[in-house]
Each structure stands twice: as C-alpha cells, then as structure tokens.
Symmetry: D2
C-alpha cells in the first residue's frame, strides 16, 4: 500500500508514462486478486474464476486503454445502485428521493438491518441494500424494469446489456435476506412500492450483464457531469451527478468506504460480482473486473489497480 | 436548501460577486442560527450566545473577508481532532497511527461507544471521541500538551491561542463519558497511553481558545497542502493532508457527514463549541463561529453559510 | 404494588378468604385496566374495549371462581406460543426442539430481531416471535394447523375454540415484521419449514378464539403436570411441563418477565390480545382477559389481579 | 444432560439414596470440570487449579454432606452480588433499590454495556456487573466495606471470610471495564456514589475469600427465608428473600440463566471464581466450587453436579 503519496512523480500528463502506470496497475490487480475469494452467498457468483482481472480506462476524447478481461460479462450487482439512484433523482427529484432514504454512511455491512431496526426507520443511504431497495420501491411506482434497463444501457453506453437469467434466478431464489429487508421496510410503513415487484425489479437490476468497458462508460458519464461525451446527450442533471459522486465517495465501498477514500480517493462503487466503477472528474471513467473479493465484499484486484493509478497519477480528489 | 446546483451562475472568479455571495452567506448563517441551540452537556458551553455568528474566508494571497464575530474566542472542541490527527501523522507516521484507529465513518453519534463494544476493538475513525482519545493515547507517548499547543498555534497561525481554563475544568469535571471511553479502550488492551494523561491532554486540546480567523488559517494550511502560504514553512507532508481531508469529508461532521458532503461538499470539521473549519483546495481556508447547534451537534449557522458559498461559488469537490 | 410481602396474612386455606381475595383481585384488575391501551399494530385488536376485564380461577377438583368477562372470546395471540412449544416438545422432543431455538431471555422486545442479526443465528427463546416462528417451522414438517387446533382444544379443554377469521386476515395482511423474521431465519439457513406455510400456521394459531376460562384450563393442565385432571388423560410428559413452566417464568411476559417474576412469581404467559395464563403448581389454573396493555405489551388488569392474588395467597413460587 | 425428568425415581426422602445421589453429583462434577477453563481475565484467577471440585449440602437441621474441596478458599466474585443486593434491600428498601436498577434479564454477557448505552440508562438487573456496581453506588452512601464484610460473614455463617488481598489488587489493577461502566453510569447521571469508592468497595466485595461451605450457608439462609436456622436470627425480611431468589432464577447465571432454569431449576448464583450457590426452599443450601468455567463464565462442574441432584432428587421448583 502507498500511504502517503511520498514517491517522486513524473509529469502526470505524459501519455507514455500514463500508459505504463495503467499497465502496472493492471499487473498489480492481477497479483492482488490472488488474495481474494469469489462471493459465495449467491450460488451463481461462486462460479466465477478468481484469477480473472480486467481494467478499462476511457477518456473524454474517446481514447481507451484496456488490459485483461474487459469484455467478459459479469453481473453488475451493487453497482446498479448507482443507476437506480440516478433514475430516482432524474425522474422523482432530490426531495422526493431523500425523503425516503438518508445520505449517511452506516458504518455497517452492506446487507445490515441493524440500524434499520434500532436507530432509524429510513435506511441510511442508497448504496446499501436496505437503501437501494427503498429507492427501488419508489421507482417501481413510475417505471418498469424495461425502462430501467433502457436507462442503464444509455448510462453505460452499452446496448448489449441484458438480464443474466441464471444470476437473476439465483438472486431470487436465495435472496431471503433482501426479502427480510423489504418486509421490514413495509412493516415500518416506509416502503413505497409493492414488496414483490420492488424485490423482483431490484434483483433484475442486480443481474444485468455488464463488463469492465460498460463500467468505464458509466464512470465517464459521471466524470462528464451526466452528459455522454460522444453524443452530447444529457442523461442526468449535473447537480444530481454531484450528489451521486459524493455518496459514492462516502458510501460506495460498503464499510470500507472511508479507507478507500484515503487510499484511493476517487468516487467509486463496487459490486460483489467483482466490478468497480470509478469516475475521475472531467477526465476519465474507469472500470475494473476482478471477482476475487476481500472480507468487506470489494474486489481486491480492482482496489489494488485503482490505488496504484491514484497515487502515481494523482487522481485522489484531495491530492 | 439548495439541492441540485441548478441556479444560473455568474463568473465564479469575479471578486465583487464573490464578496457579495460571502456576505449573503454570512447573513444566511445569522438567520439560520436562530434554529439551533447551544450545547449544554458541558456547563461552560451553555453560556454561549446562540445569536453569535462570524464568518472568515482567507485566500492564499493573504486576502481576508470577515463578517460578524470573527475575533471572538471560543473553545475549539472537536476541531482539535484535526490537529491531533495531523500531529500523529507527522510525528508517528501513517502506519503507526492507523494501526491504532480505523478510517471508517461509524454511522453513530460522536460520543458513541456502541461499535467499540460490539463490532471492533479499534475505534472507527479519529474524528469521533473514541478515535480521538485513542490518537491522543499515542501522542502522549511522544509529546506533551505544550508541544501540541505549539503545533496548534503554528497550524492555525495564531500565537494567541491559549487554554481556556474554565472550559478545561468543565470538561474535566463532567467528562465521564470520555472517561468511560478511555477505560473501555484500556480494558480492550488497545490504549497506548496512560488513561489519566491521555484524557487530561485530550480535554486540554478541546479547550483551546480559537476564533473564526484561526480556523480559517487552519483551513488555509490544509488547502495549501500543509504549507503555511505566507512563511513558506512546511508544517505537515502533503500526503498526510490528503489523508486528513479525506477523513474530514467522510467523518468530519459526525453522523451528518454524508448529508453535508452532498449539500456542501468541502472537507470540513465541526466542534460543539460552534466552530467549523472548511478547506477549499489550493484556494481558501474558511472558518465559521456559531454556537447554535443542530441535533447532530453541528453549527446551524456555519452549515447554512457554507452551503450558500458552496453552491453559488461551486466549491463542492464534485461540482 | 406490593413489594415485600410484608402484610399480615390470614390462613391461606380458608375458602371464604380465598374467594374474597380473588374478588378483590378482579376489582383491582378492573381499576388498573384504566391505565392501559389496547394494542393497535393489528387493526382487528384495536377494536377491543379497554374496560373489559375477566378473571377465572379453576382448581384441580373442578371448582371454578369467575368474575367479569370470562366467556368473552378474544384472540389468544402469544399465548399460543405455549401450545406450540408443548406440541414441539411432545411430537419432536427436547433435543430436536432446542437445537433450533435457545432457552434464554432476550432482554429485548417481543418482536425484536436485533439479537438475531448480531449475536446469534438461533432465536433466543420460544416465547418471542422469532423463536415461536422457528418452532412453528419445525412443527409444519410434522403436523397441520388442524392438528394444532385439535391439540390446543384438548390443552385448553375447550372444543369451541375456532379460528377468528377477521383477526387471522388482519394478522396476515399486516404481519410484515413477522414476514421479515421468517425470511431472516431462512436467510441464515436455520428455518426448518416453508416460509409461507410456517407464517400462515403461526398467524392462524395466534388467531384462535379463546376466553379466560380456556386459559384457566391451560394453566390447570400445566399445574397438573400435563394431565387433564378431569379426564385423567396425559396430554404431555411432566418433564416437558417443567421445561415449559421454567421458560414461562424467565420469558413469559416479554421484557417484563423479570419484574413480573419478582412481583407475581407464577409461571405465566401473556398475549397482546389481552390474555394471561398463569399456572399454580398442583393447585390452580388462572386465566385473565383485559385488552388494555402496558408499554411492554402485557395486560395491566391481568398483572394487577395476579399480583394481588400472589401476595395475599402466597402463590409466588419463591414465597 | 437430562432433558426431560424421565428417569424412574426412588423415594426422594430416603437418606441413603440422597447421600448416594449427592456423591454421584460430586463425581459428575469432577468429571465435567475437565471440559472447562479457569478464568483468565483477572491474572489472579488464572492461578486456580481447573481440576479442583467440591460440593457441600447443608440442611435446616444442621446436617452436612461434603465431598472434595469444600474448605478451599476462593474469591466469591459475582456471588457477592447476592450479598450486595440483600444489603441494599435490607438497609435501603425495595423502592429505593429498584429505582436505581431494573429487574430484567439482559440477554447479554455479564460485563456488557450494550444495553446501558442504547436501551436504558438504568442497568438491567443487579446480577450483572453494571447493575451490581449501581447497587454498590447506593450502598456506599450508607455503609462501608467493613459493614458489608460483617453482613457477608453473617449471611454465610462464616467469620473467617477475609479480603483476599492479591485478588483485590488484581481486580483493581485490571478492572478497566468495570471502571468504564462506573463512569458511564456517572455520565448518565444515575450513579449514586462516588465512582472511586463505589468501584473500590465493589472490587473488595468480589475479592472475599469464601469456600463451598460458606456458599452452602448462604443458600441455607435464603432457603430459610432469611433466617439463620441455627441461631434463629433474622438477617433479612422474607419478602426480600423472595425477590432475591426470583432474580437469581431469571438472572443468576448470566446469559445461561434460562437454560439453567430449565435444566436445573433452582435459584442460584455463580461467580467466575468458580463458585455456585443454590437454594432449595425450606430444605437445603448448596455450595459448589469448581474453577473450570464454560464459555458463559459458569462453573461446569458446579452445573453438572446441580443438574444431577436436581433431576434425581426433584429439586426443580417446577418439577
């Protein structure tokens, strides 16, 4: 780990150096992946190859640097929480969204229901399961899964995103903890949607088949304040992008968000499928795929690669 | 509240406009202060005037804009946690410091001991009481209060900072919860220092008499990567400043940090004495004083003023 | 309240005195009921009349003393947990039952899921919702609701017990917290039965229409070591009765069990429908009905009446 | 384990059979002790011999049956909580005592502070550390350690009870968790006594040197409603004895109380020094010494012996 940004630095605008650093980051990610384990609480996820690793960096001018398995499809999992939140902000607005979910890091694991039952009836933030299910409850009142899929495809500039049916079935058949969460929310009178439809749409959005490139695109749209840099199309208001990135920074890597904020310092979101999306404002979208996870449920390869890039290329928002 | 950065914007570099916005921010702060209440869990704090408000903005080139009570002294309280953390990083290093305290937002109140007794023996972060006491335990092994006071004076460019004796006595005489925390840390075998000396120094550092100007100076040193912009003296390594600002962002306003990150988005630290320090990278240090607090223990006037400035002047790190 | 058993005592075997004390107990119960409120978390329960009160005492030789509304039917609610536990012990045995649920007072509210998610995967005891649902999961593998209803009728010597359809529908339609519990148990891999069938049978058993007389009969069977004193039929092994009474003593009145154990000291079980069953070993079964509840969910009239009887007639197991 | 009281039974009044059963109970205790571990959180306790075991049964008529190490002295530890509670009831009364501590089993470990900081400012019961410290705070206002020592000697009919100085120093020097508890109570404004004196007296009372015989005597006084059966002297009101025994039943073996209530069913109190006192109403006092503890902090030998006796001699209050 690089703790202190103490290393001497080259000119961070030298393209050859940048390419070299990103290649090193990829190699670090491959090496680090050996320390992790694939998720096993959803049977379908346990089938992933822990040695897989891919890194894709895309810039505003359309350039792309890719290493390793950037085309391999995997389920987006919790990264869909970013898409869902974006949809809620876009179609329902800030006030409506955040009158149903808070904006605070919870300090608990991604699937915790502890605070929900002791501290507050409203989930702590939209980046943990309880909060994302709550957001989905809202969304189901105004749109269907097909609408959300369409929104996700645009956000990730990837028309090939489809539902991974086997992951979806696996989620649905084993998602009892999420089922407990949706009924707990309902019992507290805070759930907006029908429990079954909410959960079903939530599971489907977790089961979208993406790859590291789609994630890089998602990061790029966020880096470009919600605008697709190639088509010029505005997908979401810049103010909402600001909100999303701030929540990614404070809550995006579950109960590892604070440490990640110090060691990497780029607004990011991870998923237990192995993906991480990172957004370097006005510059890059970054997507990584490495299904070997650490104990907090985050991709070890992805974190290693992003930490290397952040330090050598000064990508930390506070550097 | 401004939720979405949707308002039309003037040129954020026009000095007259900036002055106007900062004056508005001050006025908003004065107005908002009426909604808060002064802290009462330490008798000495209850004596503050809830209508007091002051705002000081200092820039790298030495310019200063001040409104209201910027010279009035008050106790620094939790903002000393930033000074303590800086000292720990400077004199003990990153690894040593963070082998004794974590880097995660806790999701709990500033004086919570819940997680300490259930989830982890190490406090969640240096910005809550348990974590700051743990950091102080480390510091007492290598320096005395006088050394820390000296460091604080330099960090805030303010040689007039002294111990507020009556606040210190009030802290010491009523600080039983912090006393419980120090013994809980000791019982878990994680406290490095002597409990009495640790607590005493912790209470003293909370009782330093600062004003909004000192806080603006502290923010300015952080904005300038740890270097005093006027003397050129390096107070702390830039890498450590990056760490500190990231932790201020994720944990600086207690269990309101996530919302503040979205609505203001500037690395900041609050204290129950009524102060807030904010640091706008490579640009400004901001200090506010408003002892009327909200339920989370943060200055309502300070937040209102900073939110106004952030939105109108685009100071949010993700804007 | 009688704290210390200090009052002078008549001969506790004088039948006229006993009758007088029980009448006083009834009057105390009527008076105390004015301090409580009917349950409102299930709409059907909110329709009860808070001033209703009835007390029925039955002895081994068939004598019965009844005051007030002892024939009025109400839903058995949590008192069915005693019937369910008895059925589990009888048909599945001690080891099998208690390998799926613990025997400890939880210290938490009756519908808490806190410990379930932090301390232990197994519910703390069969007298709180989570534990009773767990027991029901076991039972559904070996018997149907009709079997349980039959068992309940025998246990309460009351063939008129039927399902209260409107309470059952109310339970089912609003039982989202219990639904959350069943899915949480399933997600932890400890639930034995099908979630839907488990919950449905649980709701039905909560919705049995009993009266104070049925409860007195239940208490009498327990007082007679599991044998119907009139038919001589053994309903459940004496060893299991001992287990049930001990758990009623430590866990029978939710998080008021400890105080009730001191102030009353008779193994009892309460339900939010307003009933309390109490069992005085080798002597009496007592049933009370008073839908006005205290904050812990227990009948205030019932407690007042039982406390009076316990003190004046020395019914406390430790007196 | 005997779960169901199913074994055929001899006449439980045959003295030879009783002697045989108690001898078997002793042998079971010796055997079971091999499964436990001596306490290690206080250095002085770690010196105990895990193979030690002693069992003493005393009856109202002065008869005594002793096996193994019944004269060996060990520190009374948590069993002093019974003495302290008795003193509080006797000298301060029921209302005063229980306006400072609750009467509920906590469901948490003996030294937990969890509930204290989340659910309630008042400790859950006088049998856990927080509650016992709270009771001691009350007592220090009306009596000194010497008074309590005198009371303990009378209660245990043992004038040789003295302070074990090395245990006391060990307690005092390592009792940081209890120190945290006392300051937490003080910070909540509920502690009645001076923190230092309260803790010091609490530590001293935990450090009294008793043996299995002293504990049997304590049990006998409780069995005889507070009266020394040999001198006829009334030590405490019968109503208070009833209160104490009820709390021993629901809370006496920490978070194993519920299971112990089912498997043994005699009001008892354990200490981490290895002792257990049990009181069989109007019949016996039982004391056991076996420093090998289970995970909940209770003597495995003591529980095994008491379970054997309870089953074979039908001592369970609900049998």
């Amino acid at each position: 780990m690089y703790f202190t940004y103490e290393q001497p630095r080259f000119d961070v605008k030298d393209e050859n150096e940048i390419r070299r650093v990103i290649k090193e980051a990829y190699e670090n990610g491959c090496e680090a992946a050996k320390q992790g384990k694939v998720a096993n609480y959803i049977p379908e996820l346990a089938k992933a190859n822990p040695n897989d690793f891919g890194l894709c960096v895309r810039s505003m001018d359309g350039k792309e640097l890719s290493f390793g398995q950037v085309d391999k499809r995997f389920s987006v999992q919790s990264i869909s929480k970013v898409v869902n939140l974006a949809a809620a902000l876009k179609f329902l607005g800030f006030r409506e969204t955040f009158s149903h979910v808070q904006l605070e890091p919870s300090g608990d694991a991604f699937n915790s229901i502890l605070k929900l039952d002791t501290v507050s009836d409203l989930p702590f933030n939209p980046m943990i399961n309880a909060g994302a299910i709550q957001v989905m409850g809202l969304l189901t009142n105004v749109m269907d899964f097909e609408d959300l899929l369409d929104f996700a495809r645009k956000f990730m500039m990837d028309d090939d995103i489809v539902l991974n049916e086997s992951v979806y079935r696996s989620e649905r058949d084993t998602g009892d903890r999420n089922r407990a969460i949706v009924y707990l929310l309902k019992s507290k009178g805070v759930l907006s949607g029908d429990p079954d439809k909410t959960l079903d749409t939530y599971f489907k959005m977790c089961s979208l088949n993406v790859n590291a490139k789609s994630l890089a695109n998602l990061g790029l749209v966020l880096a470009n304040k919600g605008q697709n840099p190639f088509t010029g199309k505005h997908l979401i208001h810049p103010g909402y992008v600001c909100t999303i990135k701030s929540l990614m920074f404070t809550c995006g890597l579950y109960d590892e968000s604070g440490e990640y904020g110090v060691l990497v310092g780029i607004p990011s979101k991870s998923g237990v499928g192995g993906g991480i999306v990172a957004s370097v404002s006005e510059r890059w979208g970054i997507g990584t795929y490495g299904p070997a996870l650490n104990k907090k449920g985050n991709s070890v390869g992805g974190i290693a690669a992003l930490e290397h890039m952040s330090h050598l290329l000064r990508l930390n928002v506070f550097a």
